[in-house]
């Protein structure tokens, strides 16, 4: 008997599979990618009551094994043992939303034909009971010929029956090669008929979905629904700007305190400068944006768990159709508000390759959270902290920047799909799941993973960059008796001055150009880089001064506006380009993206700078 089996967790989208995975494994999760593809691989471990230590893989949700998207293809390939670097799972646990059994039973039939030991976990049985639904689980077990257990993933002990079933599972007879072939339309119909017969035999009643129906009458209403969607998005941005403020102040004060403590404790010299001006100031200026990023992700996770994301896709579909994309592209694009990288990866839900490419190409135009530090800094320095009609003026400018990103993403997508490719639109078929209350533990787990990822990035890549920038900005030191700021003599100063004429037509001074160089690695680095460049080029008392009033004094308004517009469009993020290469399989699309975005950024900044110079001057 296999004492440490590997189990694959399979299920339809929205079946509560991840909640069950969280309930089984707790915090013992490892998130990585499958070899060769950027599909997220979530592995966890747990020990059963009988002492079996089990490894469990949370596979992407799918309605069938046909694998129309890269995510679904991974599920199929892992189940069939075809995935590179993965062994054939010893057993399959299929998770079913007990309120919605028809589709998942068809998946169960398909999985049964694979020939692995299998357990069906009827999840969310509490909801079914509350809604007055029922299913004879014993009869279902007899009809399917596999163990059927009921689970309530979100309740303590709710997975006990599943654990016991895993203990009873005989994984020794799994030597046979997994078998499966793509079903025809006729075969799908036959499976449906069989499922219908089984459901009838098991006295299945789905329960009452009146609540979802009533909510949809409002949330999908042509007028009220759109108004609510806009309100949700607007609230999200106001929240990002206002709720985060106290926490950000706290982090800022902490950074200053640490910097000052080190400054007082150490003798003046290269090491102190590296620690205070490079590491503490640099990392501090990035970590300070953690509260905003968490609030943004909180909104996205809550809306996803509540079931609203699919409704947003429904409402936006026709608008997206105007660009040649479909409603499903709305979710990757909305995720790109947090970061283009998960957004680009989320584009995998789009089956059609060209739709996916177009979505990927425009995803970085959506304002990602890494732009927030830059926007926040410049807005705080140049836009008065006043209110207009009850709204924060700074919030309104932020909203305008987001809107510019959205509109240009839609326009670029339309150009790609309709002018460059001249294509027929892909069919739009999407489940609108029943509304569910988001579960605090799942939301917390999601936020925890995101915060960890952001901090790891701030702690590694960004720290390394800050040190590199500090080095570039302070080496070589100015010669004895030299006048002017030290940075003028450094490598960074020389690179900046060399490239400055190229950016002069859009109003950038050489300090900005210097900051843009490390900003290629991650947009938010620009803030730290500006802090370094200005802190180091200032003399005497100005060193400790905050960056914000300094910028207000150093830059003209047209320069600030030009830089804001540059950041709406510029491909200032090497990791995004790397992910595009991985997702599309070639550097060609990464190059296309970098090229069109740079051209747009330069042109838009040029127009902004000259127009605002003329209007204001």
């Amino acid at each position: 008997m296999n004492t440490s089996p590997e189990i694959a967790l399979v299920g339809c989208p929205n079946c509560g599979k991840t909640a069950l995975f969280n309930a089984l494994t707790g915090a013992r999760q490892k998130v990585a990618n499958y070899a060769g593809v950027t599909v997220e691989r979530k592995e966890g471990g747990f020990v059963t009551p009988a002492g079996r230590s089990v490894t469990i893989l949370d596979l992407p949700g799918t309605y069938s094994l046909r694998g129309r998207s890269p995510d679904e293809a991974v599920t199929r390939d892992v189940v069939l043992g075809r995935q590179e670097g993965e062994s054939v799972p010893d057993a399959i646990v299929c998770v079913a939303d007990a309120t919605n059994l028809r589709l998942v039973l068809r998946l169960v039939m398909e999985l049964k034909s694979v020939g692995r030991p299998m357990i069906l976990a009827l999840n969310m049985v509490d909801i079914v009971e509350r809604q007055g639904g029922r299913i004879d689980a014993e009869r279902l077990e007899a009809e399917l010929g596999i163990p059927v257990v009921t689970t309530v993933a979100i309740r303590r002990g709710g997975a006990d029956a599943l654990l016991a079933a895993i203990d009873r599972l005989d994984c020794s007879a799994t030597s046979a090669e997994p078998g499966w072939r793509e079903p025809s339309g006729t075969e799908i119909r036959a499976t449906h008929a069989e499922v219908e017969r089984i459901l009838h035999a098991c006295a299945f009643h789905p329960g009452d979905a009146t609540l979802t129906r009533r909510l949809d009458a409002v949330l999908l209403h042509p007028v009220a629904g759109l108004a609510i969607l806009l309100l949700v998005l607007f609230l999200m941005f106001q929240a990002v700007f206002t709720w985060a403020a106290p926490a950000m102040d706290l982090i800022e004060a902490g950074t200053t305190l640490v910097g000052e403590t080190i400054r007082e404790a150490m003798p003046d010299g290269v090491l102190r400068s590296l620690l205070v001006d490079g590491i503490v100031a640099g990392v501090g200026s990035v970590v300070v944006f953690l509260p905003q990023i968490l609030i943004l992700f909180l909104f996205i996770i809550l809306l996803e768990d509540f079931g609203y994301m699919a409704r947003a896709a429904f409402l936006m579909d026709r608008l997206m159709a105007g660009t040649g994309l479909h409603g499903r592209a709305f979710i990757p694009l909305l995720s790109s508000f947090a970061c283009a990288i998960p957004g680009i990866m989320a584009a995998r839900v789009i089956e059609n390759r060209r739709d996916r490419l177009a979505t990927i190409l425009v995803a970085p135009l959506m304002t990602c959270s890494a732009r927030l530090p830059v926007y926040t800094l410049i807005i705080a320095a140049f836009v008065p902290d006043a209110t207009v009609a009850g709204f924060s003026q700074q919030g309104l400018v932020m909203f305008a920047l987001f809107a510019t990103g959205i509109v240009s993403a839609l326009l670029v997508a339309a150009v790609i799909k309709k002018v460059v490719w001249r294509e027929e639109p892909e069919p739009f078929l999407m489940e609108l799941p029943d509304y569910k209350w988001p579960r605090p533990t799942n939301v917390a787990m999601g936020l925890w993973l995101r915060a960890g990822a952001f901090l790891r990035r701030a702690g590694t890549i960004i720290l390394a960059l800050m040190i590199l920038l500090w080095f570039l900005s302070s080496w070589p030191a100015p010669p004895e008796g030299a006048t002017g700021p030290a940075i003028d003599w450094s490598l960074a100063g020389r690179i900046g001055q060399f490239l400055a004429p190229l950016f002069a037509p859009i109003g950038f001074n050489w300090q900005i150009v210097v900051a843009l160089i490390p900003g290629m690695a991650a947009r938010e680095v620009v803030v730290g880089a500006l802090a370094t460049v200005y802190a180091l080029s200032a003399t005497g008392d100005e060193v400790g001064a905050a960056l914000q009033p300094l910028l207000a004094a150093e830059w003209t308004l047209p320069t600030a506006l030009s830089l804001l517009v540059w950041f709406v469009f510029a491909p200032q993020c090497a990791p995004t380009l790397a992910v595009v290469r991985r997702e599309t399989g070639s550097w060609k699309w990464a190059a296309v993206m970098a090229g069109y975005m740079t051209a747009l950024a330069y042109a838009a900044a040029f127009v902004t700078f000259h127009l605002s110079s003329r209007l204001l001057g």
Partner: protein, 104 residues
């Protein structure tokens, strides 16, 4: 006789959406009935065997109970359809391949 007029003929003309693409694609909000079959329409964006299987996989199988729950905000498109006990969003153009008849 074209395929689309065949499919709309299953509906009383008074309740079908004027100028709709036929079949389920022409059904107005609130319409209830059953799926009677799947048939290709004139302009398909993907091969029929693929579209047919996608529709089947989302539950549009002969005999399935249908109710049009909601219409999209622009051009009354897409539609949210209750298919047995699942709610599916589908564009009218694609829904046109689903032939429907009155509930029995």
């Amino acid at each position: 006789m074209s395929m689309s007029s065949l499919t709309t003929s299953a509906l009383p003309s008074s309740i079908s959406v004027r100028g709709g693409p036929g079949g389920l694609g022409s059904c107005p909000k609130g319409w209830r009935g059953r799926v009677t079959g799947l048939a290709p329409t004139e302009h398909l964006s993907i091969p029929w065997t693929e579209l047919e299987r996608r529709l089947l996989e989302m539950g549009f199988v002969e005999g399935a109970a249908i109710e049009v729950l909601q219409e999209g905000p622009i051009g009354r498109d897409p539609i949210a359809v209750r298919v047995d006990d699942l709610t599916v969003a589908v564009r009218r153009r694609d829904a046109a391949a689903v032939r429907v008849g009155a509930a029995d």
